[in-house]
Amino acid sequence: MRNAFIEELVTLAEANDHVALIVGDLGYSVIEPFADRFPDRFINAGVAEQNMTGLAAGMASEGYHVFTYSIANFPTFRCAEQIRNDVDHHRLPVTVVAVGGGVAYGALGYSHHAVQDYALMRAMPNMVIAAPGDPLETRACLRWLVANPCPSYLRLGKAGEPRFHESVPDIMPGRWVSVHPGDGDAIMLSTGAALGAAIARADGRAVWSLPLWSMATKADQPAQLARHGRVTTLEDHLADGGFGSWLAESVAGTPAAARIEPITLSPEICDMVASQATLNRIGGLTL
């Protein structure tokens, strides 16, 4: 996903001279293609995420679409108020990019685990969450974001995720994308890099992905839910404030709510040191 991200961003920046990238002193062996190609639109803000985000908002207010890039919680929780006030409230085109969504940096420990980021971002009224499930959804998300500049959060896994689509899918906020067909009316629906886990647990069910979602598009969920039976959601995030919770809130108080079955990470993994695969298994995401 990291490689698809930087390749696609370079391609988009070729055609859009207002696309800029600011990193928080991270991105070694990832961001060089952009930095080398567009030195006047690449800034290393240093280890200073609040300023990185505030200055991204300032640049965005002058016509740039700024991507801020760092690991897991550093570009999100560390500067949550800058995202809330400077970016989201002013509806500025800043895309916060976190690499290492979920527990991709497993053994680096809790400081590097992004398992509450959906909760933070989906509480912001103007924010669009872009959580691609494979490298092709990553490209689709970037294309949508550059074409529709807005306060946004791009959550990437790491490197080496498999492709699950044949080609770059058509996506829009709030609309589920079919990944593969299945039998019966029960389905799997995932967001972000949990897509692989959803496919592995499908057991003949159809698998869908939702790579773009937001507070505003919660209202679009009941109609899509009505087309299916039981909907099992998967996410590499805690249940509280997560994707399954968002979906359930969209039909809260109606019979459809009982058909949603969220699979999330158990908070017990927050105290553990282990690889991503092990944490996802112990946390209950994978079998």
Binding site: D40, R41, I43, A45, G46, A48, Q50, N51, T53, G54, L55, A56, A57, G58, M59, A60, S61, E62, G63, Y64, E81, Q82, N85, D86, H89, H90
Partner: protein, 282 residues
């Protein structure tokens, strides 16, 4: 459509403008029963010099691409800026009467929805990073407009300001002016008793800024500092403005309580009378 050249407003009589800002600010907080009058009076002279003389801005083209950008980082002192915007023609004076009431655009912290206001603040330590981004954008695109950020003294407890101070110096943003309203009173006690900033002048010099220290109520030195070219090529500018919280109203000066209180009608009349007397003396 091609943009017409920017025709800057003014110049205004900045002393008279400062008095009108003080009077309007007093009326607004009294009517809305709102706080922070001490903070607004502290910056009234700085705001008058900015809108009356130093900023290249125009009410007729408040989004002009070549305008100077002014950001009030101490958003709680917004009545001073709203008053200046009304007195220089950006907004209707009648709008000031809606301050703080239901449905007004005049939120009790500065709001970007008000014509002439660039950025909403209220949480401290946001204005300088944001302004740094604007100054960097201007540099990257070879534009000549300037960014001016007005901070409080207490908000230099925020780490984000020091992050921006490092960044602006590292990138040589000599199109960025930060004014520090140094009234030396925070929300509970003095700056010295809360989180000491001194030695401030040498601290900012050590951070790589060009630094000037002035009387923040002396219009001539403020005009000299805020008008014209960068003080030193390649360095952002830090104007340490020594001010008095509550300036112009004797019973509000240097009193923490006027960070919070709003005047009774009797105290409002007394405050306005003091400002009138100052006008006559002038």
């Amino acid at each position: 459509m091609k943009e017409a050249p920017l025709v800057a407003a003014g110049p205004h009589d900045t002393k008279a403008l400062a008095r009108r800002i003080r009077c309007q600010a007093l009326h607004m907080v009294t009517q809305a029963k709102a706080s922070h009058i001490g903070s607004a009076l502290s910056i009234a002279d700085i705001i008058a010099v900015l809108y009356g003389r130093a900023l290249s801005v125009s009410p007729a083209a408040h989004r002009h691409s070549e305008r100077d950008r002014f950001i009030l980082s101490k958003g709680h002192a917004c009545v001073a800026v709203y008053a200046a915007l009304a007195e220089t023609g950006f907004i209707d004076r009648a709008l000031l009467g809606t301050y703080g009431i239901d449905g007004s655009t005049l939120m009790a912290h500065i709001s970007h929805k008000v014509p002439g206001a660039e950025f909403s603040t209220g949480a401290l330590g946001h204005g300088l990073p944001f302004g740094t981004g604007k100054a960097l954008a201007a540099k990257l695109r070879g534009r000549s407009w300037r960014t001016v950020v007005l901070t409080s003294d207490g908000e230099w407890g925020e780490g984000s300001n020091w992050e921006a101070a490092l960044f602006a110096a590292h990138h040589g943003l000599d199109n960025l002016i930060c004014i520090l309203d140094y009234n030396k009173l925070q929300s509970l006690r003095s700056v010295d008793e809360t989180l000491r900033l001194e030695p401030l002048h040498s601290k900012f010099e050590a951070f790589g800024w060009a630094v000037r220290e002035v009387d923040g109520h002396d219009h001539d030195v403020l005009i000299d500092a805020l008008q014209g070219p960068p003080w030193q090529g390649g360095k952002p500018m830090m104007l340490i403005a020594h001010t008095t919280k509550g300036k112009g109203v004797s019973f509000m000066e240097n009193r923490v309580e006027w960070h919070y209180r709003n005047p009774t009608p009797e105290l409002l009349a007394e405050a306005l009378a003091q400002i009138e007397r100052e006008a006559l003396d002038a």
